[in-house]
């Protein structure tokens, strides 16, 4: 039996159950998603953007899916200790794919701002959700979009109305919790209207030592002159498989900065697809990866400069140890007429062992004639001279290697504009390199 069949069967057999435990706006796209998934099947490595990760293999095992929406008996506020103590955030939890509604942060959000369950949002503001849901993550062009749209029942909705600036960081902790292997299909919708400002911090943790498979689709709508910083921090374990597709649409003069750090994981594939639809928009993508053991991290990006006068920057740095594999493929597309585009793309990688593998593929495709674009990548090893210099000063080989790795990753950590988070991440990365972060440091259950 091929890997797809069990998901098609699951959907066919449980169609009514899935619908009943979701919302109309989400159910509306299922039939098409099913047809698209049946037609597309899982992408093979022959599909360029899936070249570096074997999707079908990851989806082959039979995971449980919580279609009945059985609640897990856990209070995340008790189970989870905030990892960023000096950062005052509005803290929310997602338990698997369900928004934790029982206790909400006491600090109120500005009037009109909504942070809630996507299912609830689809019931309370159907027009807002219907206008956006599935508009960017088209099911016809990507099998994972189709699979997620077919099965997802809930997720997160963030809405910031016109002209409103949310001062306090909105932190959402995604907790994976299950006594048996579990597949989680999470859906996130972020809508910033004209002139809105927000900072989001998504942290992924796994509370149980189980096999998890997560598909996540994030759709971000950044209105004219809106400002968004979105941080994603994955700190799960080696049995987690994460497939995340993020789609961003940016209107005129909007500024979106996306930061993605993989601190600890099993297998991760992050697709980031940014469309610059309005002139003067700016997008910044920063990625930091630390991998060892047999971890696998694949970041795949597309920045589509549809119109002129937009700016895009990408900086991804990987530190690969043991037998880990990393991949970065970043495609910048400057379309015909997108004049005065400024684009930089850089991927730098450190392979600390001869067995670690890094695949780097920066791509630049330009159909306009008045642009300033650069792209480059490097893969290097530990600097033996620097190691010896440090050892001569009395620093042990392990410590010297740690200092070099930390220095290498430092550049991308320094790009974080939020000081408390930057300091915290430095601390976490150092702990990670010292081997003190073998699972995740956030939840008590892992202690």
């Amino acid at each position: 039996m091929n890997s797809e069949q069990q998901y098609l069967d699951l959907f066919t057999a449980n169609r009514e159950l899935i619908d009943r435990n979701s919302a109309v706006a989400m159910n509306a796209l299922r039939e098409q998603a099913f047809a698209d998934f049946a037609r597309l099947g899982f992408p093979t490595r022959k599909v360029e953007r899936y070249k570096y990760t074997d999707v079908a293999e990851a989806f082959a095992p039979d995971y449980g899916v919580n279609l009945k929406r059985v609640e897990f008996a856990v209070n995340p506020y008790e189970a989870f200790r905030c990892d960023v103590p000096n950062l005052s955030t509005s803290l929310y939890f997602m338990l698997n794919d369900a928004f934790w509604e029982k206790a909400l942060p006491s600090a109120a959000l500005p009037p009109g701002v909504v942070v809630c369950s996507l299912r609830r949002a689809a019931q309370e503001f159907p027009e807002k959700v219907e206008a956006c849901y599935g508009r960017l993550a088209r099911t016809g062009k990507d099998a994972l979009n189709a699979l997620n749209t077919m099965l997802a029942q809930d997720g997160l909705f963030v809405y910031v109305p016109r002209g409103v600036a949310v001062e306090r960081t909105i932190q959402v902790v995604n907790l994976l919790r299950s006594d048996v292997g579990l597949m989680v299909n999470r859906r996130v919708l972020v809508v910033l209207e004209e002139g809105a400002q927000a900072r989001l911090l998504f942290c992924d943790h796994a509370m149980d030592d189980r096999d998890f498979l997560t598909t996540q689709i994030v759709e971000v709508f950044a209105g004219e002159n809106s400002h968004l910083e979105l941080y994603e921090l994955e700190e799960t374990h080696v049995k987690n498989r994460r497939f995340s597709n993020m789609y961003v649409d940016q209107q005129r003069d909007s500024v979106v900065s996306l930061y993605n750090f993989t601190l600890h994981n099993g297998l991760t594939r992050n697709r980031t697809d940014v469309t610059l639809s309005g002139e003067g928009a700016e997008t910044n993508l920063y990625g930091g990866v630390i991998a060892d053991k047999e971890q696998h991290v694949d970041n795949n990006t597309l920045i589509d400069h549809r119109v002129g006068r937009c700016t895009s920057r990408q900086l991804y740095k990987y530190v690969m140890d043991d037998r880990s594999t990393g991949a970065f493929a970043g495609r910048v597309l400057v379309r015909h007429g997108a004049q005065q585009t400024v684009s930089e793309e850089r991927n730098a990688n450190l392979c600390a062992t001869p067995e670690a593998r890094m695949y780097s593929q920066p791509m630049l495709e330009i159909y306009a004639d008045d642009v300033k674009c650069s792209h480059g990548s490097t893969v290097g090893q530990m600097d033996e001279q620097a190691l010896f210099y440090m050892r001569q000063r009395g620093i042990s080989l392990d410590e010297a290697r740690m200092l070099l790795k930390f220095a290498f990753a430092g550049e991308v950590i320094d790009a974080i504009s939020l000081e408390a988070l930057r300091d915290r991440l430095r601390h976490l990365v150092e702990k990670r390199f010292r081997g003190e972060l073998s699972r995740c440091s956030g939840c008590r259950m892992c202690k």
Partner: protein, 251 residues
């Protein structure tokens, strides 16, 4: 303090050192002179344990311990310091973190607690003055963007922080202007004690004018061919090495 006996060493299979015998006593300064390719830098690299070099024969005892059996970091902890001919740039590692790691590694080796942040920064400030280094030093990356003179001053600064028993100065004077040479040499002299020794590798007399070596050796083709007092350095400055070469070949 340091006893080298019949030391042979090679790099990439090529023998460079062909039987070195050298004894350095506490408080002594030995100068090591010789033409390019004589093996001076190889000797310093072998002593501090650079893994690129292979010792094929001989022994080195440092304060009673078998130096060659120790890792480079252990040799440092035992009090051996090399002022590098070409100090290495380490982008992204700040001087303060680098020095803290080095000082605390040594303290751990000695069974001491790590130094408190306040005490450590105070120590950095004091030692910095010895070689007139900038106060911005602490937050700069190790040697990155340093001028040639700053790099050499930084070597002596690190020596001041680590208080070694035996320092090897590998062409610390090369590339320095007159003022920088004076700062480096005077800085070194301030750190001298009756117990500390040094092995100074140089081509020139001018550094030795400041340091006043007790013994001068001439290294040629991997062997010490001549040993004398300070006057030998003066003679080499005037006459070059050819006469020593002729003398050696005659024997």
């Amino acid at each position: 303090m340091l006893e080298i006996r019949d030391l042979h060493a090679s790099i990439n299979g090529k023998e460079i050192l062909k039987g070195i015998d050298l004894t350095v006593k506490p408080g002594e300064i030995h100068a090591l002179m010789g033409q390019n390719g004589a093996g001076k830098s190889t000797l310093s690299n072998v002593l501090v344990g650079n893994p690129a070099y292979e010792v094929t024969r001989g022994s080195v005892t440092f304060n009673g311990k078998d130096l060659l059996a120790l890792k480079p970091e252990e040799r440092a902890h035992e009090g051996l310091f090399l002022s590098f001919q070409q100090p290495v740039e380490i982008p992204g590692v700040s001087m303060v973190n680098f020095m803290r790691a080095a000082v605390n590694a040594k303290r751990k080796y000695q069974g001491l607690e790590p130094m408190g942040a306040g005490d450590f920064l105070k120590m950095m400030r004091e030692k910095r003055k010895i070689v007139e280094l900038d106060s911005k030093l602490a937050n700069r990356s190790v040697n990155e963007g340093f001028s040639g003179g700053e790099k050499k001053r930084n070597e002596i600064f690190q020596m001041a922080m680590l208080e070694p028993k035996l320092s090897i100065l590998d062409e610390t004077d090369s590339g320095l202007d007159v003022d920088a040479l004076r700062i480096v040499a005077e800085g070194f002299n301030k750190l001298r004690t009756p117990e500390t020794s040094a092995l100074v590798i140089t081509h020139y007399q001018r550094l030795l004018d400041y340091l006043r070596p007790d013994v001068v050796h001439v290294l040629m083709a991997g062997r010490i061919v001549k040993t004398g007092g300070p006057e030998l350095a003066t003679e080499i400055e005037q006459r070059g090495f050819d006469w020593i070469k002729a003398e050696t070949e005659a024997v």
